[in-house]
Each structure stands twice: as structure tokens, then as C-alpha cells.
């Protein structure tokens, strides 16, 4: 499994830095002489996608500007730079929708990029103005073009992508879904894509770091999670990490937390697989998505102990009890994907897991081993969908509990900040954000999106209920901001098969399955 690490946003970049740090001895002159390459653990490659030019150019010393130094490595890209300032499409979107796609540092609204993406994807008028840019969706095309060369879809060797984002931040939260959608829309429906999302911590401690208050962060986070978990043909797994837990383990140090996150991921990305146990990403993807129609939630549980004989049980015990990086009840998991490092017996690992999660049979536990350090052994268990017990939302430390609180916070924010969400004049409460002015059309669409009967708020309330009842999944129906009709279509109900994209087809399939379930039919 050789992943392409794509860090999106500030936090994504910092964590990606940890992943992509050069294992080699650093020296520019020496590199020129030896013809050396950037070497990372496991041979992973990666890129950083950022929106804030200041953050990218001035504060960062690791990633190089991909537009100016395309042969350097590793690189960062600012995708919205693809649209020149004053370009007709820039003007047209501003005029029609009120969105300034050249704005420095994205508006810290998760739906902002979602909206921009939908505009590019669906508005033919806008698409018609993109001819000179040779791209129908320049921002996301640029992002994909930055990532693709490292993948097997390009000339690279990475057979899967891992997006690293901060859920509740700005860029990552808003960017990840559109980019995933974009990847799928290019016809790469079965290419493994995972997202490692770090949920912003509770409280106000992160407000300054994330340039947004808790409620807004939670709304952004949950919007992003919602889209990730409901988009058919989207990601193959959302690895949820609670930044609260990370920081508690790292004494509140963000840098340490980033480093810890990298360490936790080593069983997943490091090299030195056991002979015959080199899982390609599609295999992991297949295991991860099998028997589940929606993108699954994967909760990482990590442990690291000094090497000793018979350590499998201890590792599993440690991981499932103290090593959970997101609150959950392991016994609710319907699958376990195990990556470990050390001299470990896969049978014993399975037995140990089964000991903790009796409902998991051995065939629902995949174990892939690597050789690690001699002194320590490590175990990373990705528990699939470790939730679903009724009433668990009341138990602190469960997934239901955590997400229930986030959803509640988001709903509260929505209820109390309607002008902010609808960009009504004078709304801005943050000195960081300039005021946006959107068109009435856009505002209406946003109002429907957020507050409509089948809008986000309503869906979140339903989701809360599902969490309380222990229903899986809790997010089901995908949402759109804009519903732009195709003027070529005769009837919205007429679907010309040869014109539907795979993504659309998948979405239709999901919708039918949902309807059938609601009708009580087993699918």
C-alpha cells in the first residue's frame, strides 16, 4: 500500500510535512551530486494544497511552489491561482453568485467551496467561459493535476490517496469533498481514496488557531463529514481522529500532535512489509467498503509497547482501550483493519480482537504486518463504523456522544447565526473575514440548503435521532446547495444514459437504495 499523502489546508500541510519529511540526509549540494531523491518512509509521495498564499509562501519552509518550481519536491499548490484575477469566469461567478473565487484565504465556511465546486460543475454558463483555461473546473482540475502525477493514474507509484484535513478548519474542510468528487468524476471510481480527518477540539482553545469560533467550526466539520459520508462513490473511508484526544496525549502541543499522528500512521504507510503481506490500496479499499454502501467511518486505535513475547494480546488490549483516537465503542465495529509492526502473529491478533469484539468473526478482521523497530511493537486497528448502540450518545467517549455534541453545536450555531450563513449585509462578526456579498439567488439557495425542509439543519436533526437510536448510518442523503437545471434536458426526470457520469449513476443508485430502504425493503 503506497499512498499519496495530500495535505489540505494548514493542519493538513503540517501533518503532511511529517509524512513527507525526507528520511535522507539533507543537503542541496550533495543531492545534486548524488542525484538523490526525496526519500520517505514507505516510499510515499505527497503534495500540499493550500488556499492561503501567505501561509504557503512565508510561513512554510518545507513545500516548494509547484507553479514556479515544478521539478522540485515536495510541492504546494494554490489551486484558485488557476483562475487569473479579472478572468471572465471570476467576474461571472462574482456577478451571478457573489462569490469571489480569488479571495485570499478561503472564507471559513465549509459550504463556500462546496458552492464554488457546484457552480463549476453544473453551471453551463460558467463553464462556457472557461474555454481559454482549457479546463471545465480549473480550481479542482489544478488540485487534481497536482496530485495525479504521484499516483498510478499518472506516472507515479502511489496506488491510493490519503487526504489529511482538519475538520472544522477552512481549506481542508471545504476542499476535500469537492476534490474527491472531482476525482471520481474523472472516471476513477475505484481508485482508493481515504480521508484522515482531524476533528477540531471542543472549546475555544482552537478558535484562534482556526480563525473561527467553536460553533462555526463544528458546523464546518459536520458539513464536511456529512458530505464525505453521503456522497456516493466518494471516499473509501473516513478516518476520524479527535484532536482533543491527540492534544491530551501530546500535552497540548500541536507540533507534537502532528508528529504523533504520523507515528500512529506508520503501520499503515511504512515499508518492510512481511513477505506476501504487501496489501495494495485497492485491497484495503475493497475490505474497507465491502458490505457497506456508504463511505465507512474508520476509527484508528493505536498502541505501541516494548517488544516481548506474546505481545499481541497486550497490543490489542492497549489499542482498543487506551489507544482510540476517536471516541467509540469497539464492540460496535463491524470490521477491523489491522496494520502492525513487529514480530506478531496474525492469528493471535485476530483472536485478541475477537476477544474484545465477539461479533467480529475472523473473516471480518484483516491483518497486515510489517517489520518495525526491534525495541517496540506497534498496532493500528481501524475499526469500521464502531457505533450503533442505542443510547450510546449519552455515554461519554463514544462516537455517538462526540458527534452528537458536534451536531448539536452546529445546529445551535445555525439557529443563532442565520445572517452569517446567508451573508446578509453586516453579518461579519470576525475581523478575519471580509464581508461577502452574494446574490439573492445564491442567498436563496443557501437558505434552502441550510434551513429548508430537506436542508442541512433538518438532516442534522434526523442524524441526531439516528445516533440516539443507534441507527447506521446516521448521514444518508446527499445535499446540494445549487440545483442548476440542465437546459438541454427535456424533463428533469428523463435521464439519458449516455450522458450520465459515473458519479451521477452512483448517486442515482444510492438514492434508489435509500428509497427502497425507507420503504422497508432489504437492499
Amino acid at each position: 500500500m503506497r499512498l499519496c499523502i495530500v495535505g489540505i489546508g494548514g493542519m493538513g500541510g503540517k501533518v503532511a510535512h511529517e509524512f513527507l519529511a525526507n528520511e535522507d540526509f539533507e543537503s542541496c549540494r550533495l543531492t545534486k551530486l548524488t542525484g538523490g531523491e526525496h526519500v520517505t518512509s514507505g516510499g510515499i509521495k505527497g503534495v500540499w494544497l493550500e488556499s492561503d498564499e501567505n501561509e504557503a509562501k512565508n510561513k512554510n519552509k518545507f513545500f516548494k511552489d509547484g507553479r514556479q518550481n515544478p521539478h522540485d519536491y515536495p510541492l504546494y499548490f494554490i489551486p484558485h491561482d488557476m483562475v487569473p484575477d479579472g478572468h471572465p469566469v471570476h467576474v461571472a461567478i462574482k456577478k451571478k453568485y457573489g462569490y469571489d473565487i480569488k479571495k485570499q484565504g478561503y472564507v471559513r465556511d465549509a459550504q463556500y467551496l462546496k458552492a464554488v465546486y457546484e457552480i463549476f460543475e453544473d453551471d453551463p454558463e460558467i463553464r462556457g467561459k472557461l474555454l481559454d483555461l482549457r479546463s471545465t473546473n480549473p480550481i479542482f482540475d489544478c488540485a487534481w493535476a497536482a496530485v495525479r502525477p504521484y499516483t498510478t493514474l499518472g506516472r507515479g507509484k502511489c496506488d491510493g490517496i490519503l487526504f489529511i484535513i482538519s475538520l472544522g478548519g477552512g481549506t481542508g474542510t471545504g476542499f476535500v469533498n469537492p476534490i474527491v468528487q472531482h476525482i471520481r468524476s474523472t472516471g476513477k471510481g475505484d481508485y482508493p481514496v481515504f480521508v484522515l480527518g482531524v476533528l477540531t477540539e471542543e472549546g475555544t482553545a482552537s478558535d484562534r488557531e482556526q480563525y473561527a469560533k467553536e460553533g462555526k467550526r463544528n458546523l464546518g466539520a459536520i458539513s464536511s463529514i456529512y458530505d464525505l459520508l453521503t456522497k456516493g462513490g466518494g471516499v473509501d473511508g473516513l478516518i476520524l481522529v479527535d484532536n482533543q484526544i491527540l492534544l491530551s496525549r501530546c500535552e497540548g502541543d500541536y507540533t507534537l500532535a502532528n508528529r504523533y499522528l504520523h507515528q500512529v500512521s506508520l503501520p499503515l504507510v511504512a515499508a518492510r512489509d512481511y513477505p506476501g503481506e504487501k496489501p495494495p490500496s485497492p485491497a484495503v479499499r475493497a475490505f474497507s467498503t465491502e458490505g457497506w454502501s456508504f463511505p465507512p467511518i474508520l476509527v484508528p486505535c493505536y498502541s505501541r509497547i516494548r517488544r516481548r513475547s506474546g505481545s499481541e494480546a497486550s497490543l490489542v488490549e492497549e489499542a482498543l482501550s487506551k489507544g482510540r483516537l476517536f471516541g467509540c465503542q469497539p464492540q460496535d465495529a463491524d470490521k477491523a483493519i489491522v496494520f502492525c509492526r513487529g514480530y506478531l502473529d496474525s492469528g493471535k491478533i485476530r483472536n485478541a480482537i475477537v476477544g474484545h469484539i465477539p461479533d467480529l468473526t475472523a473473516d471480518k478482521i484483516a491483518v497486515w504486518r510489517k517489520l518495525g523497530e526491534n525495541s517496540h511493537e506497534e498496532l493500528l486497528i481501524l475499526l469500521r463504523n464502531p457505533y450503533g448502540s442505542p443510547g450510546s450518545y449519552q455515554i461519554e467517549g463514544t462516537l455517538e456522544w462526540r458527534l452528537h455534541r458536534v451536531i448539536a453545536s452546529a445546529i445551535t450555531y445555525m439557529e443563532g447565526h442565520k445572517p452569517d450563513l446567508l451573508y446578509i449585509k453586516g453579518y461579519s462578526e470576525s475581523t478575519q473575514d471580509d464581508e461577502l456579498t452574494v446574490t439573492d439567488e445564491t442567498r436563496q439557495a443557501l437558505e434552502d440548503f441550510f434551513y429548508g425542509d430537506r436542508g442541512l439543519k433538518a438532516e442534522l436533526e434526523v442524524a441526531m435521532k439516528r445516533l440516539e437510536d443507534g441507527t447506521k448510518p446516521f448521514f444518508k442523503r446527499p445535499l446540494r446547495i445549487f440545483d442548476i437545471p440542465d437546459p438541454k434536458s427535456v424533463s428533469p426526470l428523463v435521464i439519458e444514459d449516455n450522458k450520465t457520469t459515473p458519479a451521477q449513476r452512483a448517486q442515482i443508485k444510492k438514492m434508489i437504495q435509500e428509497e427502497l430502504r425507507e420503504m422497508g425493503l432489504k437492499v
Binding site: D24, L30, L33, T34, G35, G36, E37, V39, G43
Partner: protein
């Protein structure tokens, strides 16, 4: 005479026949030995069955004679004596002369083909054994002397009949194989001398001989003089009086005589100053000047010449020929030998550490004892545990009558192999010094320093070396990695 002989023989035969027929057949005794009985060969004269006397055939008679000679030799001899008793004066004088068909002027080393011939008119039974010598009379001699050692013998039966004559074939003296054996040169008379035990006969008694027959032969024997070739003087171009000089020449005598080879050394005026003689046969002769003491110190600065004379006992020849007394071989020209005074050898290193790479000032005090300046080449040589008098420098220096210190400054005297070694040094020159030597040497009391490296750590050479040593591995590692690419992702 021949008829007489024939009649005599016939008479003997008849008498014998008569004796035989009249003698009774049986009752033989020793005195009446008749010879063996006939052997039944069918000859005439076989015994008849009545035992009576038979006829005697010739063969039988011959057999009788043979048996008598064999079985009763004394009687037989007496018989023949009786039969022979006749006129003692019937023994005839044999004749001898020389036979020579060659040139009458010969060289001493030629092989003489001189033969003799004897004619003997006596019958076989009267002939005597003859003994023949070759005699010669040299110029100025009065008497003949024998040339050969062993006389040749002519046996009574050693004749062939040639017509009515009994004559020998040509005989020679085998031991005489050179005219040298005759013992002289000039007009030599030769004759043959013969005796039969009672009388002497000389070939010179015959006067009516014609070539190639001689009673007395006069032959002119000449002598081949000795020759000399490749006369050379071996030695230095401009030798000193005591330099090794050798007079060398090739001598040759056609007669293979032992020669007396004499070397004459002359002054430029042609006056002989000394000579030496060696006896030698054909081959190389040499006269070593040192061995014979030809030259002394007093001869320094003088020029000499030389010539050879060869005496083979008969002739004396000079080389070059002395028809011109001034004709000589040139050399040697003895160079003058100034005497040097050499003293106070010294060496001074520039650096008191006595490093082998340092510059050293070798010096010596020299003066010429003669009242003039000379320029002579002087060579400085060094001896260490590694070097055995290795030449360091050669210079031509001017040596004056005044003492002067001569310096040889060099940093090339020693090399790294000499470090730690004791050393000696010497000056060599081509003239003799007060000790009659041509060199002066000295062993120095201070050994060379053991240090090997010339350079200090902080110096450009070491710096460059170190740079190379320290950087090369880096480059090696970089090159290996670039080539093999082990550190790069596959």
C-alpha cells in the same frame, strides 16, 4: 754372368737327380735326409710295387729340397755353400743414387720429396742387406752429416727385375718431413750413404746422373722471415708514467720457428732508450710497461716511440723496417704529473638537524705543489649504508699553488634511504696527491637524521595531499552511490 749362373743351377739339379736315383730306397738316417716321400699326386716318378727305384720328378725334387731345408738346415746350408763355392770375386757392387723431381730452390718449411734408388747386380743369394742414410753438407761445412736418424733398410729381395737389372722402387726417409731438418739454409749438398756391413757406398760416386737422378744433389734452402702484425699500444690516451700501458702485437713465423721478439723503445730522436725481449712462437705477444718498468717519474712529460725486431734464429726483421731509422710506432706520450696537496676535508650542513634533504657544503683544501695552476676534474662521492661511493657531483676546479678551499654545495647528496645512516665522503681527482693517492676521504661523525617526511603538517604539499586524502573518499562514496543508486527508490 747370367749364363754362368744358369749353368751352375742346371749342374746342381742334375747332380741331385743322380744322387737320388743311385741312393737305395730304404734305410734312411739323419744324414741322409732325403725329404718327404712323395704324396701320391700322380706325379711322374712314383714308386713301383717291386720297391725298386723310381724316377725323380721336378716337384719331388723341390719337395726334397724343402724338406731338407726344414728338417736338416745345417746340412742344407753346408750343401749350398759347397755348391756356391766359386769365385769370391763374383759379388758385384750395388749402386745407389738420389731421386728428386722438385725445385732446387726451396723454403725451409717445405716438405722434401727426396728418394733413393738402389741397383743390385748380385743374384738373390749373393745379395746383402743394405742400410741407407741421407747426408747433407751445409754451406761452409766440410763434412757431411746424417740428416735422418734411422737408416732405411733394403732387403735382398727388395728388388724388382727391370729388364736385366735388379732395381728397387723409389724409397724415402719417412722421418724427414721438412727441409728444416737439414739444419741450415743456403746451398746444401745432399748425397745418399749406403753400407752392407762390409763396405760403404756413396751416391756421390756417380757423376753421370741427370735430373731427377742425382749422385750428389745441391739444393738451395731458403728461410721465411718472421712477420709482425697489429702492433698497438694499449692504455690511456694521455697516460701518466705509471699508468697501465701494454705493447701488444701479433707475430708469425712461417717456419714455425721460435722467435726472439724484442721491443725497442726509442725517444723522438730515434735513440733507443730501452728494450726487452721475449721468446715466442707465432701468436700474441705483449709487453706490460709496468712489469718491465719502462717508464718512471722522470719520463713524465716526454714522448716516446717504439719498434719491434724478430729473430727466428736465421733472420732478423724489424717492424717497422729499419731501412729508415726514423720509422717507428708512435707512443706513448707521457703526460706530466703535477703533485697535489690535499687536506682538511669538511662537511657543513645548512640545517643542524642533518636531514637527508638538506643542503650540505662539502669542502676540501687543495693546492698544486708545482708552481703553476692546473684545472683538474674533481668528483665528490658519498658512501652510506645504502650507497657505496655514489658520485654526487663532478666539477673542474682550478688548483693553484696557493691553498684554497674548494666547496661542493649540494642538496642531492643523500636521499630517503640514507636517513639514519652514517656517511663518508671523498673527493676524487685525476692527479696524485702528497700521499700518492688520487682521492681523499673522510668519515663524518654525525649520522643523518631519521626523519622521512620533508614537509611539516602545515605546509602546502601536505595540505594538498591531505585535501586529496580526505576528499577522495567522499567523492568515491558519491560516485558509487550515483552509479549504483542504492539509496534511491526503486
Amino acid at each position: 754372368m747370367i749364363n754362368m749362373k744358369l749353368y751352375f743351377s742346371a749342374g746342381v739339379i742334375i747332380l741331385c737327380l743322380l744322387l737320388v736315383t743311385l741312393t737305395p730306397a730304404s734305410g734312411q738316417d739323419e744324414d741322409d735326409y732325403e725329404g718327404p716321400p712323395p704324396n701320391g699326386d700322380g706325379d711322374a716318378g712314383s714308386r713301383d710295387s717291386s720297391g725298386g727305384k723310381s724316377k725323380l720328378s721336378l716337384n719331388q725334387f723341390v719337395r726334397y729340397l724343402e724338406s731338407w731345408q726344414r728338417d736338416n738346415s745345417d746340412k742344407y746350408r753346408y750343401m749350398t755353400q759347397l755348391l756356391r763355392q766359386g769365385n769370391p770375386e763374383s759379388y758385384k757392387v750395388p749402386y745407389i743414387w738420389l731421386y728428386y723431381n722438385g725445385n732446387l730452390t726451396v723454403s725451409r718449411n717445405e716438405i722434401p720429396k727426396i728418394y733413393f734408388v738402389v741397383e743390385n747386380p748380385n743374384s738373390l743369394d749373393l745379395r746383402r742387406t743394405l742400410f741407407v742414410d741421407l747426408q747433407a753438407k751445409l754451406p761452409g761445412e766440410r763434412e757431411y752429416h746424417n740428416v735422418n736418424q734411422i737408416p732405411q733398410v733394403v732387403q735382398p729381395f727388395d728388388y724388382v727385375v727391370s729388364g736385366e737389372r735388379n732395381i728397387t722402387s723409389l724409397k724415402k726417409w719417412p722421418e724427414i718431413n721438412s727441409f728444416t731438418q737439414i739444419g741450415g739454409v743456403g746451398e746444401v749438398k745432399l748425397r745418399a750413404y749406403m753400407h752392407d756391413g762390409t763396405r760403404d757406398y756413396y751416391s756421390s760416386g756417380r757423376s753421370n746422373t741427370t735430373h731427377p737422378h742425382y749422385g750428389e744433389m745441391t739444393i738451395n734452402i731458403t728461410n721465411a722471415p718472421p712477420q709482425l702484425f697489429n702492433a698497438t699500444l694499449v692504455g690511456p690516451q694521455s697516460p701518466r708514467y705509471n699508468d697501465p700501458l701494454e705493447y701488444v702485437a701479433e707475430v708469425f713465423d712461417p717456419d714455425d720457428d721460435l722467435m726472439a721478439v724484442r721491443l725497442h723503445i726509442t725517444d723522438p730522436a730515434g735513440r733507443e732508450v730501452r728494450n726487452e725481449t721475449q721468446e715466442a712462437k707465432s701468436g700474441r705477444v705483449s709487453f706490460k710497461a709496468a712489469q718491465y718498468g719502462f717508464f718512471g717519474e722522470a719520463d713524465a712529460g716526454k714522448n716516446f716511440t717504439y719498434y719491434y725486431s724478430l729473430d727466428d734464429g736465421i733472420d732478423i726483421t724489424s717492424f717497422p723496417p729499419r731501412d729508415n731509422p726514423n720509422a717507428t710506432f708512435e707512443g706513448p706520450n707521457i703526460r706530466s704529473t703535477p703533485k697535489l696537496w690535499v687536506e682538511n676535508l669538511h662537511v657543513e650542513p645548512v640545517d643542524k638537524n642533518y636531514y637527508y634533504w638538506d643542503e650540505y657544503n662539502f669542502s676540501v683544501v687543495m693546492r698544486n705543489q708545482e708552481p703553476y695552476s692546473i684545472e683538474i676534474p674533481v668528483t665528490l662521492k658519498i658512501k652510506t649504508k645504502d650507497k657505496n661511493w655514489k658520485g654526487v657531483e663532478t666539477r673542474t676546479v682550478t688548483v693553484t699553488p696557493d691553498s684554497k678551499r674548494i666547496y661542493f654545495s649540494t642538496d642531492d647528496a643523500f636521499d630517503v634511504l640514507d636517513r639514519g645512516s652514517d656517511f663518508s665522503f671523498r673527493f676524487e681527482y685525476q692527479e696524485y696527491d702528497q700521499n700518492n693517492e688520487r682521492s681523499a676521504e673522510m668519515q663524518w661523525y654525525e649520522p643523518l637524521n631519521q626523519r622521512l617526511m620533508k614537509y611539516d603538517l602545515v605546509s602546502i604539499p601536505i595540505g594538498i595531499n591531505l585535501l586529496f586524502v580526505l576528499i577522495l573518499p567522499l567523492l568515491g562514496g558519491i560516485f558509487l552511490e550515483k552509479w549504483m543508486g542504492k539509496g534511491r527508490l526503486g
